[in-house]
């Protein structure tokens, strides 16, 4: 296995294109485990952490641009980002231990395409857009279009995700992410839900978007959520409907981490609880 550490996006793309079977190395917290167990044996790894653009969090007039190789700890240390996107930050802050946080990247979490990736539902709720560079240039897609199935993405050969764009946060708006794991830390989500809400001046929900994770081959946009939440004040009956809709949208499997039945129920509970947190946050937001 070769190791390359390009200094620019162009070099990285060229390296990926020229070496068949190369893998991108960002935080490496999944890739190194795969290398060790023999489930991955790439001809080369292309370390993208020395590309400045992939390591930066920048605040622009349009929102935040987060480099794909930015690690969880860098996100949760970024006060302005955490203030604007608390749900995205808490999702990033849930990936693995403190040690894993010091390495695991946003891009890796999304592009490994684990159905249980914590940041994906939060990014979906945030309407995050992924910027992709490849041999044929640059393109942008909504984050929910990256994963196409467990471990599979829509990225073409030689393409890499370079950054994620989070829109500018409107007034009276906030997000939240919750997941269920058997312990308090160190587990893979059994189910997860991200909720992003914007309120009217009187506290009525004007815009809502919900992403759910670990309950289908990919994280899902909960299409029913706006219809249920918008126009309400997040009352109990609304939350019950939201929970039911989340369970109904889920297409989970039985595995060592949970059962179909359990996941359906719990994703609803999480959606409802995350909605309430987002609602309270939005009420308190400027």
């Amino acid at each position: 296995m070769q190791y390359q550490s390009p200094a620019s996006i162009e070099e990285a793309v060229a390296a990926l294109a020229s070496i068949g079977g190369a893998r991108v190395l960002a935080g490496g917290t999944d890739l190194l485990v795969q290398l060790r167990s023999g489930t991955a044996s790439p001809a080369a790894v292309i370390d993208v952490k020395n590309i400045a653009a992939l390591r930066a969090i920048t605040e622009t007039a349009d929102g935040f641009r987060i480099g794909a190789a930015v690690c969880g700890a860098e996100i949760t240390d970024h006060a302005a980002l955490v203030a604007a996107w608390p749900g995205v930050a808490e999702a990033a802050g849930l990936i693995g231990s403190t040690q894993v946080q010091g390495r695991a990247s946003l891009g890796g979490n999304v592009c490994n395409a684990s159905p249980a990736a914590d940041t994906t539902p939060a990014l979906i709720a945030a309407r995050a857009v992924a910027e992709i560079v490849g041999p044929n240039g640059r393109r942008s897609i909504p984050v929910e279009q990256i994963a196409t199935g467990p471990g599979k993405t829509s990225l073409a050969e030689g393409e890499i995700v370079v950054s994620f764009l989070l829109p500018r946060r409107p007034a009276r708006s906030a997000d939240a992410y919750l997941r269920l794991i058997p312990r308090t830390e160190m587990d893979i989500a059994v189910a997860g839900a991200g909720v992003n809400l914007t309120l009217d001046a009187d506290g009525t929900i004007a815009d809502a978007r919900v992403g759910i994770g670990a309950v289908a081959p990919t994280a899902l946009v909960l299409d029913a959520a706006p219809g249920i939440l918008v126009g309400t004040k997040c009352d109990e009956a609304t939350l019950a409907k939201l929970a039911e809709a989340a369970g109904a949208a889920a297409r989970p499997i039985d595995d060592k981490r949970g059962t179909v039945d359990y996941r359906r129920k719990v994703v609803g509970v999480l959606a409802k609880r995350a909605a309430l947190i987002a609602y309270e946050r939005a009420k308190g937001a400027r």
Binding site: Y3, S5, T29, V33, V45, T98, G102, M186
Partner: protein
């Protein structure tokens, strides 16, 4: 495949080594550089026994390729405390009996030092969550958490 030549800094010393691309920092620390205080408990980032500090960030040595060390500054358990004086975290672990078998201890001490470096006054909950990536099977964590609280107080000049 030729080995890579890596120049890095370990515990303040300039260090050079050769490694294969798939070798982890943990492998090189233990097998090439002879720094065996960093332990392997799982090899998958789930136990924290290989905790090291790389450019100020706490990471698992098993989840970092050795070739990535180029130009970095790495602190291992061997770099914590001075020959004539243990670090307050080490001293607190001794005084509070915060170890039994001692195998997870280097990882806990590195992790606790990293915590106190950035948060000199952590709550019990903050300590427990920060250390959640460090498994200990012997102590039930009680005396470890107390030792970190004790060390924090010592470092602020308030003997607990």
């Amino acid at each position: 495949m030729a080995k890579s030549h890596v120049s890095t800094t370990v515990n303040g010393d300039p260090v050079e080594f050769l490694c294969d691309a798939p070798e982890t920092m943990l492998d090189v620390l233990r097998n090439t550089l002879g720094l065996t205080g960093t332990k392997e408990g799982c090899g998958t980032g789930d136990c924290g026994a290989c905790s090291i500090i790389v450019d100020g960030r706490l990471v698992c040595g098993c989840l970092m390729l050795a070739v990535e060390a180029t130009g970095k500054s790495i602190t291992t358990i061997e770099g914590i405390g001075a020959p004539d004086r243990l670090h307050p975290v080490q001293q607190a672990f001794l005084e509070d009996a915060a170890l039994q078998c001692g195998f997870c201890t280097p990882g806990f001490i590195v992790a606790a030092k990293a915590l106190l470096d950035r948060n000199p006054d952590p709550s019990e909950t903050e300590i427990r969550y920060w250390l959640a990536g460090n498994l200990c099977r012997c102590t039930g964590y009680d005396k470890i958490v107390r030792a970190v609280q004790h060390a924090a107080a010592e470092m602020k000049g308030q003997p607990a």
